[in-house]
Structures are given as structure tokens and as C-alpha cells.
């Protein structure tokens, strides 16, 4: 698949010396969902704003569908839809006029059927004659999405689409994203909710302090960096870990009811067979065994704090 968005050594520094982007290079393939994960102030919004033309980069290039975002900005920008983080809407205008304005601004001819379809999908059709100021926060966020979709973009940027949104709307948003992907739209979303990236992304990029720390398939990332834990539940609680099990570095949990063994899935030998044998040898009876995989959140915290292997 060709890259629909190619970012090369993109840098942004401000007059006061602050470097918001420190040479970001990234290729995004058509039709994928990329989640950019990072703490507040990491440079997520700066990166998106630079691609979309709101911020002028200090150096580096961005091409969208092969069009340079500065030299050939008209062609590049017409492929992009942007849903900003803040709810920026003209409060006195109606939903319909606001969305229609966006389509026209991008030079697309009037198409009421398409706008109706978008508004219906976003559950906004009934509200089309309402003024923006009369809508709830969640509805306003949908209007922002409708505006971005009104000009039929091939790439959609969602800057923290679910920040400050309740659980139900967040799930709705995930459904919308899945439907958009199915219709062939490439989606780049920023979030600091790990579960969001885990739930909907194909690839995950981790950004911190203006630099892209890594970009990887979600599954690979989790397998590569994931640690698993094996919990061995005992029939009879113990107070001390037997000496012959000391080298497994076990934790005694649940008041002595269970032993927890942490191992690396990348290792050639996980040590599970040996552990289970040694547990039996030590005269402990097993009630149950279960494993847990570390979440993206653990991986993320490790990465950002620089503890990653």
C-alpha cells in the first residue's frame, strides 16, 4: 500500500527556543487507523496542526496523497478533514448551515443528499435546524466531525475526539471511526486514553517531548513489549515463599493464597514448566492457574519514562 501521508524530518521551534517537534518522520498508509499516544504537551496537536496548515513548520516536509502541504497546499488540504480538540463552533448558526459552510469552504459543490447522510449517521439530522449553542457538548463534538466529513476527506484527523466525553458517547465515537475506516477513510487520532488506542487503532505511535518514540502495529507492540503474569492459586495459603522457589522472584498475593510469576513472552524459555514442577516439588497443591497480559498502558508508561528495553 502506498503512503497517503508522508512526513519527513518535521521540525517546529518557536522564537523562545522551545522545540515542539524534533524531527518527526512517519508514513501513514491509506485506510489505516493510527493512534498517536502521548502525554499532554507531547506535541500531538502541534504535529496535526502542522500537517493541516495551521502551524508553519520550521523545516521538513509533509506530503498528502503525493502533494506537498506548502507548495501544493490546495490539493493537499482538500484531502484532509480536521476535527479539532476544542469545540470551536459558531454558536449562533444552525447545524445545517455550519456543515454546509464547511463543504463550500473546501470548494465542493452543494450536495444536500450527502450532508443529510452524514448528519443521519452522526444522529444529528433531527438537530439540523438547531443553533449550535442549543446543543449538548457531545452533540457539538459530532457537529465538528460532520463538518470535517462534509467535504469528503480521504484522511481524517481526530484530535482527542473523546476528551471529556462520557463512556456511552466514547463507544459511539469508536463505532463511527470503525464505519469511517470501512468506507476507506484513513484516520489519525490522538489520545491519551490508552484503552482508546487499544480498542480502535491498527498502529500506534508514541510521541513524547516532540519526538516520535516508536510506531508499530498494535498487536506487535503488545506482544513485543508485553510482559505476562502467571498467577498460581494455592489450595492452602502460605506465609513465606519456599526457599527452592526463591530464584523465580515470586510475589505472594491475596494473603498467601496465590503466587504471581512475571515473565517475558519474548524469552526463549518462559520458565513456566519449571516453575509448575518446582511448586509441586515444594509440596504446594495448585487450585488454579491463570495468565494476564500487560496492557498498553503499562507499555506506554515504561516507554515514556524511558524504562523500555
Amino acid at each position: 500500500m502506498p503512503a497517503i501521508l508522508a512526513i519527513r524530518d518535521l521540525r517546529k521551534s518557536y522564537a523562545n527556543g522551545f522545540e515542539a517537534l524534533k524531527g518527526v518522520t512517519l508514513d501513514i498508509e491509506e485506510g489505516e487507523i493510527l493512534a498517536l499516544l502521548g502525554p499532554n504537551g507531547a506535541g500531538k496537536t502541534t504535529l496535526i496542526s502542522t500537517i493541516c496548515g495551521i502551524i508553519i513548520p520550521s523545516s521538513g516536509t509533509v506530503t498528502v496523497g503525493g502533494h506537498d502541504t506548502i507548495e501544493d497546499y490546495r490539493a493537499a488540504r482538500s484531502l484532509i478533514g480536521l476535527v479539532p480538540q476544542e469545540i470551536n463552533l459558531e454558536p449562533f448558526e444552525t447545524v445545517w448551515n455550519t456543515v454546509r459552510f464547511s463543504r463550500g469552504l473546501f470548494g465542493k459543490s452543494r450536495n444536500d443528499a450527502l450532508l443529510e447522510d452524514i448528519l443521519r449517521k452522526l444522529s444529528l439530522w433531527e438537530k439540523r435546524k438547531s443553533r449550535i449553542m442549543e446543543l449538548s457538548g457531545g452533540m457539538k463534538r459530532r457537529v465538528l466531525i460532520a463538518k470535517a466529513l462534509s467535504h469528503e476527506p480521504r484522511i481524517l484527523f481526530l484530535d482527542e475526539p473523546t476528551a471529556g466525553v462520557d463512556v456511552e458517547l466514547r463507544k459511539d465515537m469508536w463505532t463511527i471511526v470503525a464505519e469511517l475506516k470501512a468506507s476507506g477513510v484513513t484516520i489519525i487520532l490522538t489520545t491519551h486514553y490508552i484503552e482508546e488506542a487499544e480498542a480502535i487503532a491498527d498502529r500506534i505511535g508514541v510521541i513524547a517531548d516532540g519526538a516520535l518514540l516508536l510506531v508499530e502495529e498494535k498487536e506487535n507492540l503488545m506482544t513485543r513489549m508485553g510482559q505476562k503474569q502467571l498467577e498460581v492459586q494455592l489450595t492452602t495459603p502460605i506465609s513465606v515463599v519456599p526457599e527452592q522457589l526463591a530464584h523465580y522472584d515470586l510475589q505472594l498475593v491475596n494473603g498467601g493464597d496465590a503466587l504471581v510469576y512475571t515473565y517475558d513472552t519474548r524469552g526463549e524459555r518462559t520458565g513456566i514448566t519449571g516453575l509448575l514442577n518446582d511448586v509441586a516439588q515444594a509440596g504446594l497443591a495448585l487450585a488454579d492457574v491463570q495468565t494476564r497480559q500487560s496492557s498498553l498502558e503499562d507499555i506506554f508508561v515504561d516507554l515514556v519514562s524511558g524504562d523500555a528495553p
Binding site: C52, I55, I56, R77, L82, E86, L89, F92, N97, F106
Partner: protein, 253 residues
């Protein structure tokens, strides 16, 4: 040219005007009527004639200019400042449009509103005084150029302004005094000689004089100079706006 975008911006801006149509319409009618009551009837009855023209009629071009200039500035400055203030400017900056299209949309709408108010005042004035327009086409040209150039100035102010106070500052502190001292309500020839010279540095004098010439065929300065002044002013504003978009001053970081 992305004409669809120009039309969209224009329509969106005009919608704001139509939402407050009564205010947009009533306010100039009311203030013009008040000016006629105060200047025309109360003071005019003692002044009688200026340069051979009834004082009531004499002030009409100045009155129109006063409203058109302030309305063009306030509409255009608010039009571009408001998206900056509420954040919707992101869409304008990320859209496939160039500076000329943005300016045409916003300034075009602001100039249209100012023109509408100018026409309303002219209609209101004709209820109070007998008006004959000596050079109707020149009158239309001056009116259009004034709407356009002051809307351009307003656009610059709207981009420059960092808050609502600054938005009001230039119109209040600079434009209104220049218009009042620019011969709206008097002829320059009525001033003492020294002030006649000083007042020539006021650019508004040339606009009002030219506009008044279109009505009454009498002017403080040659009409060619008036046209040159307004043409130069429009070009200057366009150059500043071109520079603003080239450098991203106050809009793109």
C-alpha cells in the same frame, strides 16, 4: 480561484447580518433621523447655506460617509476577529483557500453591509431634505470604493486585535475623530487658514470631498485627488493584508 469558498464565506457572513436585520436596519435610520433633527433643524436653521447648498442637504454626504466608514470597519473587523476569538479560524487556515479568497469573502460581506446602510441613510435623508445628485455614477463609485477600502482596513484591525478592547480602539480613537474632523458637517473653507492646511493631512477629507462633489458638484479638493487618495488607500490596505497572509502574522504560528 476557489469561488465556491468565496461564496460560502460571503453567505455565512451575510447570515450574521440577516440574523440582526432589525438592528442593522433600525440603528442607521434612527441615528440619521437624529442627526437631521439636531443638525438639520436646530443648527441648520441658523446656518442656512454652506457653499450655496442648504445645510440639511450639505451634511448628507458626510453623514453617509460617517456611517459607511464606521460600519465597514466594525463589520469587517468583527467578522475576522470573531473566528479568532471562538477558535473557528482553524477551519479557514486548514482549508484549500488563499488569502485573496478569504479577503474577498469577509471584506465583500462587510462592504455589502456598509453599502446597505449607506443606501438606507440616503433613503432616510431624502425624506428630510430635497436631494439632487449631480454625478450619480461618481457617487456610486465613491460609495463602493469607501465601503471596500474601509472594510479592508477593518479586516486588518480584526487580525491585529488581541481582544475586544483593541477591536474598538482604532475605530473609536482614530477613525471617528478623522471623520468628524474631515468635513462631514462643514466645509473646509469655513476653517481658519492654518487649520485648512493641517486638515489636508486627514485622508478622510479627500473621501468626503469627492463624495460631496458627486452630489453637489462642489468640492474642497480636486475630485481627481480624491480618487487618487481612495485608490492609494485601498492599495495600501491590500498590500498589508497580502503581507499578513504571507508571513502568517497573528494568524499562523
Amino acid at each position: 480561484m476557489n469561488w465556491t469558498a468565496v461564496a460560502s464565506i460571503y453567505r455565512f457572513e451575510m447570515a450574521r447580518f440577516f440574523r440582526t436585520l432589525m438592528q442593522s436596519f433600525l440603528s442607521p435610520v434612527l441615528s440619521t433621523s437624529l442627526y437631521f433633527v439636531v443638525f438639520g433643524a436646530a443648527i441648520g436653521s441658523r446656518i442656512d447655506q454652506v457653499e450655496g447648498i442648504d445645510y440639511g442637504a450639505f451634511i448628507v454626504p458626510g453623514l453617509i460617509m460617517l456611517s459607511v466608514m464606521t460600519q465597514a470597519i466594525s463589520n469587517a473587523s468583527f467578522g475576522i476577529y470573531f473566528p479568532k476569538f471562538i477558535g473557528t479560524i482553524y477551519e479557514l487556515l486548514s482549508a484549500p483557500v488563499n488569502f485573496l479568497e478569504i479577503v474577498l469573502g469577509y471584506v465583500g460581506a462587510a462592504a455589502t453591509k456598509a453599502l446597505f446602510i449607506g443606501v438606507v441613510i440616503l433613503a432616510t435623508a431624502s425624506l428630510f431634505v430635497d436631494l439632487t445628485i449631480a454625478h450619480p455614477w461618481a457617487m456610486v463609485l465613491f460609495l463602493l470604493l469607501t465601503c471596500l477600502s474601509f472594510a479592508l482596513l477593518g479586516f486588518i484591525i480584526g487580525i491585529w486585535a488581541g481582544n475586544f478592547e483593541q477591536l474598538q480602539l482604532v475605530p473609536l480613537m482614530i477613525v471617528t475623530p478623522l471623520v468628524f474632523l474631515g468635513g462631514s458637517f462643514y466645509s473646509i473653507s469655513m476653517l481658519p487658514p492654518i487649520w485648512q492646511k493641517i486638515t489636508m493631512f486627514n485622508p478622510v477629507v479627500y473621501l468626503i470631498s469627492g463624495f460631496r462633489w458627486a452630489f453637489f458638484d462642489t468640492a474642497d479638493v480636486p475630485v481627481g485627488l480624491s480618487l487618487l487618495a481612495i485608490g492609494g488607500f485601498t492599495t495600501l490596505c491590500l498590500a498589508v493584508i497580502w503581507w499578513i497572509f504571507k508571513t502568517g502574522w497573528r494568524i499562523r504560528s
